[in-house]
Structure formats: C-alpha cells, structure tokens
C-alpha cells in the first residue's frame, strides 16, 4: 500500500515537473526554429500518446494512424477555408467524426488478430489516403487544399506565431497525457492491461475486451484527429502526402522507441526521433560538406537499429531500470561493496 501511494505521488510529481518545464522552455529558448521543432514534437506527441494507449495497453498495433491524423487536418482545413466554420468547431467536428469512423470501422477490424489486424489498419490508412487524393472537388486532390487555412484564435488572442502556438500545442499535449494517465489507471485501464496479458483470461473474468479495445481505438483516433487539426492550422497548407503510410510507420517507430509501457514513452520517443532527424540535418553537413539527405537517412536507420537492439523495450523502460538499480544501490550501499 505504501509503495502504491509512493508510486502515485511520483506520478503526480512527474506531471507537475513536466508542466513546469513546458511553461519554462519558451522563455529560455528564444530561437524560433527550436520553438517550431518543439511545436511539431508536441503535435506528434498527441498522436503517439493515443497510439501508445492502443499498442501498449490494448496490445493492438495500428499502421493507419496517419489517416486519422489526416482526417482531422482535412476536416479542419475544409470546414474553415471553404465553409468558414469556426476553427474550434471544425476541430471538434473532426475529432467526433474521426472517432465515430474509427469506432465503426473498428468493429469488423478488431475481429482480426496480430498481423491481419496490422494489415487491416494499413489498408484502412491507404484507402483514406486514396480518398484524399481522388475527391478533388472536396480535398483539392494531390495538389492540396487550394484555399489558405485561417489561424486558431481565442477572442483577440490569435495563435499566429511559434511562441503562442507552442503554448497551445503543449497545453493540449499535456491534457492528452493526463487524460491517458487517467485512462491507464482507471478500471478500463486495468481491463486493457488484462487484454494485453491474456485476452482469453480477461474474457473469462467477464471483461468485455472487444468493447474496450474499440473505445481505445476510437480515443486514439480522436487524439490523432486533434493533432491533425493543430497541424493544419500551424502549417496552414495541407496536401495528402504527410498523411500516408510512411507517417503511420513513423508514428509506430516513435511509440516503440519511446517505450509502450509508460505514458512518458511517447514524449521521449517523439523527441528523440525528431531531434535526431533535425540534428542530423544540422550536423551532417558539418561532418561531410555538401552531404544531402542520403547520409542522414543511413545514419538515422543505423541509430534506430542500434537503439532497438540495446533498448528493446524502449527508452523509458531503460531509464526506469537504470533508476531502479540506482535506488537499489542507494538503499543498500553496504551489500554491493
């Protein structure tokens, strides 16, 4: 019991610390480029938090999350630019719509297992992508939405620069993490983990595994959709290309690199992958002048492989292990010497 309490205190302390960091960073970082990288990290974090709930706690992989991300972006983009709907309303519409679509499509998809499920989500993603490409009247086709997407605003506060957008994105990302945290530690969360352990055992104990999985799938799709809306209002131009298979794969990579067993995994995974890609872009030319993306790609791939070989359970798991062994040694200093 005491241990449980301590864990809970630690969890809350971490969230508090994280909140403080979020609010301190933009006052320390004045470089606009770094801020914009952080904005993108925040947007991707929201998607990956949802994906982690699905993969880590419900044990279901999705290779189609970029499509939900795209649905959010396009709902926001189309409703605000073509139909002059308020951006917040459009974001809500995107989230609700994407959630419903995910839930409905999830019904047949979640009857599948393992690789078949992976393939079905991949197919779903591709079909949505094809629709974005082909419904030219609505989406602008492969060239993208032809009208500019307006900024988000609250009253007279317009989110029109990196500094303001940073706060918007990270407050939402924080809410996403807290909500996910609550889900994980709720009754549903326990049920979910039991699915991951053994679906059969969970079922025999009266857990409605199917419904819980669908709920988490829909929730993670909503996360992706909100992130998509944020992307659309940030870049103010969207085309189908950022919402294809490669982005879906990228989200899964981020989730796994961060580690699926902790709600902090997504933040760590997204940050490491994004900073690595951006950092390589900065530093490779210093090492090899005139080097294009070729070198970046090679080094990126190799680093990814090395991370996965040495930290197969992701970065958070490795950190937790390190922390535990440190505490173990601190508490029993005599035994080790």
């Amino acid at each position: 019991m005491k241990d449980l309490l301590r864990q809970k205190r630690l969890r809350h302390a971490l969230i508090l610390l994280f909140t403080l960091i979020i609010f301190a960073v933009p006052f320390l970082v004045t470089n606009n480029y770094y801020l914009s990288v952080l904005v993108i990290i925040g947007i991707h974090t929201i998607v990956v938090v949802g994906l982690c709930l699905l993969m880590g706690y419900a044990g279901q992989i999705s290779l189609g999350h970029a499509a939900f991300y795209g649905l959010g972006a396009y709902t926001s983009g189309i409703l605000t630019s073509t139909y002059n709907v308020s951006p917040w309303l459009a974001m809500l519409a995107g989230a609700v719509g994407t959630g419903i679509i995910a839930y409905l499509i999830g019904i047949p998809i979640f009857r599948l297992k393992e690789h078949y499920l992976a393939l079905a989500t991949l197919g779903l993603g591709l079909i949505i992508h094809v629709v974005l490409m082909e419904e030219v009247e609505l989406t602008g086709g492969p060239s993208g939405l032809s009208k500019g997407i307006p900024y988000l605003s609250i009253g007279s506060l317009v989110f029109n620069n990196d500094f303001k957008y940073y706060f918007l994105v990270w407050i939402l990302a924080l809410l996403a993490v807290i909500l996910a945290n609550n889900v994980v530690h709720s009754r549903i969360g326990r049920a979910l983990r039991s699915i991951h352990g053994s679906e059969f055992a969970a079922q025999s104990l009266g857990v409605d595994t199917g419904r819980h999985k669908l709920q988490v799938f829909a929730l993670s799709a909503i996360y992706a959709s909100v992130a998509g809306s944020l992307y659309a209002h940030y870049i103010t131009f969207i085309s189908p290309s950022p919402f294809g298979l490669m982005t879906s794969v990228q989200f899964v990579v981020m989730a796994v690199v961060g580690g699926l067993a902790s709600i902090w995994g997504p933040i760590l995974g997204v940050s490491v992958i994004t900073v690595m890609a951006e950092g390589l872009k900065e530093f490779m030319p210093l090492l090899i002048p005139q080097a294009g993306g070729e070198y970046e790609i090679v080094v990126y791939g190799i680093i990814l492989v090395v991370i996965m070989i040495f930290m197969p359970d992701g970065l958070t798991a490795t950190l937790v292990k390190a922390y535990e062994s440190w505490r173990y040694r601190k508490e029993r200093p005599n035994e080790t010497s």
């Binding site: 992989i61 599948l112 078949y116 070198y295 790609i297 090679v298 359970d313």
Partner: protein, 293 residues
C-alpha cells in the same frame, strides 16, 4: 476492341503484376515461418538484387554470370545483416524486431541512394523480340519470364521444404522451436538460413522484374508493401498461398484500374482485401490448407 479481349488484357497485365508480388511475398512467408518476424526490409533485398544485376551487366559481365553473382552478393549482405542485427536482438518482442527491420530498410535505402543515386536504371529483357499478341491482347516476353520464375520458385521451395534435410529442419523450427533444438537443430542457424534463402528469392525477383519495372533506389517500398499484402492475403504461412495471394492482388488491381477507376485502383484493391479479411479472418489460406480464392 471487344470486351473479351479487353478482359483478357486486364488478366494478362494482372498476372504479370501478380507474379511480381508473388515472388516478393514468398520471401516474407519463409522468414515469417521460421523466425516469426515480418521483415519490412524485404523490398530492399529485391532492390539490391536488381541494382547489383544492373551494375554487373553495365560493367560487361554476361547476363547469366551477373545473375548468379548478384544473387550471391545479396545473400552475403543479408547474411551479415542477420548476424549483425537480427540475431543480436532475437530475444526482443516481435514489434521491436519489426522496427529493427524498418530501420534496416531505411539504412539500406540510404546506402543505395549514396551508391547508385536517384536515376532509374534499365535492364534489357532476357529474350529479344516484340510483344506477343493473344486474342487481341498483348503481353511482353519478359512477363512470361516473371510468371515462369514464380512457378519455378514455388516448385523449388516446395521441393526444398519437403525433401531436403535443411528444408525439413526449417519446417521443424516452425512447428516447435524447442523440440527442434532437442533434435539437434540450431534455431539460430535456421534463422540465418531462412534470411539467406529468402534473400536469394528476393534478389531473383528483383532481377527478373527489372526489365519491366526499371531499377530505382526506392523501388523496394512499393514492392515490399504489395508483397506483404499478398503474403498476408495468402495466410502468411503457406507458400502456395503467397503465390495465389500475389496473383489475386495483381489481377484485382488490373481489373480495378481497367473497369472502374485508375485513380482508385489501389483503394479498390485494399477494399477487397479488407472484405476478404472480414469474411475469412485468417487470410485465404489461413488455417485450412488450400481451396477458394
């Protein structure tokens, strides 16, 4: 043009594409069967085979010799990759292993971009001669090579798995790794064997399809994706299933493009794929042997 010759044309195009997908799918199935890994770098192995072949032919090596050398080179590269990356991480979860193959595929693609650049390469068809006309439809001789190779490879795989010691050992690993080890079969060596064998198939596939598809550093992505789809469609564990899955995918795409909409071609293929999965959640050849497409 009459409807029947039109349909025949779609069918012939579909069989060619399907043969390509089937060859790639076979490699997926063999690795998955033995190691349980979905190898997302499979498409890159295909690309490497085609690239080595083109480079050798352009350097003046006769085609037959180039083919053998290219296949062996890819087997060596993949063997090293297996020892370096896959074996070191073999205790990791399946999803971690998948991410490792994704990382490998990214790195291989990047190296190919460094070595061969972005320009597509061309490989001459194996046999000279113009297209063949059958009942108002057209097919190029290289398509026959693709379909022929698919059949040959399927037969060869069947023979190896049924009648050779190594093939039986591989199958034993599939059935029960622990028991196989008790029988003196080393699963690690089997994993290496599976990777190298499937690399040979991939390289062969790359070489046979090169005259039709051209060779680019990024050709592996699409081939890997379609090959994966074909493999799962066929049940992921059956080699004839992979071939039929590949052919079915090719024909669906071709018919979809011809009869419905070329823009929605890939969408149509995936909708049919999802329907098949919903009706038969284990793939066409999932659990119950053969039959039904």
């Amino acid at each position: 043009m009459s409807l029947s010759s039109e349909l025949l044309q779609y069918l012939l195009s579909g069989l060619t594409m399907g043969g390509i997908y089937a060859l790639v799918a076979l490699g997926f199935v063999i690795i998955h069967n033995v190691t349980g890994i979905i190898n997302f770098a499979q498409g890159e192995f295909v690309m490497l085979g085609a690239m080595f072949m083109v480079t050798l032919v352009n350097a003046g090596v006769p085609a037959a010799g180039a083919l053998v050398i290219a296949v062996i080179l890819v087997m060596i590269v993949v063997g090293l990759i297996e020892i370096g990356a896959i074996r070191t991480a073999r205790k990791a979860s399946p999803i971690t292993l998948i991410i490792i193959t994704i990382g490998l595929s990214t790195a291989i693609k990047g190296i190919a971009l460094l070595v061969w650049g972005t320009n597509p390469y061309k490989l001459e068809p194996f046999t000279k001669g113009g297209p063949i006309h059958i009942g108002g439809a057209t097919i190029v001789p290289q398509s026959l090579w693709v379909i022929g190779t698919t059949v040959l490879v399927l037969a060869l795989t069947f023979f190896i798995f049924e009648y050779t010691y190594w093939g039986k050992a591989l199958r034993a690993c599939v059935v029960n790794k622990f028991a196989a080890r008790l029988m003196g079969i080393n699963p690690q060596r089997m994993s290496l064997l599976a990777f190298v064998f499937s690399a040979a198939l991939a390289a062969l596939a790359g070489i046979v399809i090169a005259p039709i598809t051209y060779v680019t550093y990024d050709m592996g992505l699409m081939l890997g994706l379609k090959g994966f789809v074909a493999a799962v469609l066929g049940g992921l564990s059956s080699t004839p299933g992979a071939v039929i899955g590949g052919l079915a995918l090719g024909i669906i795409e071709s018919m979809g493009a011809g009869l419905l909409s070329s823009g929605y071609k890939d969408g149509i293929a995936f909708i049919i794929l999802l329907l098949v999965l919903f009706l038969k959640p284990g793939g066409i050849f999932g659990t119950s042997g053969t039959k039904r497409v």
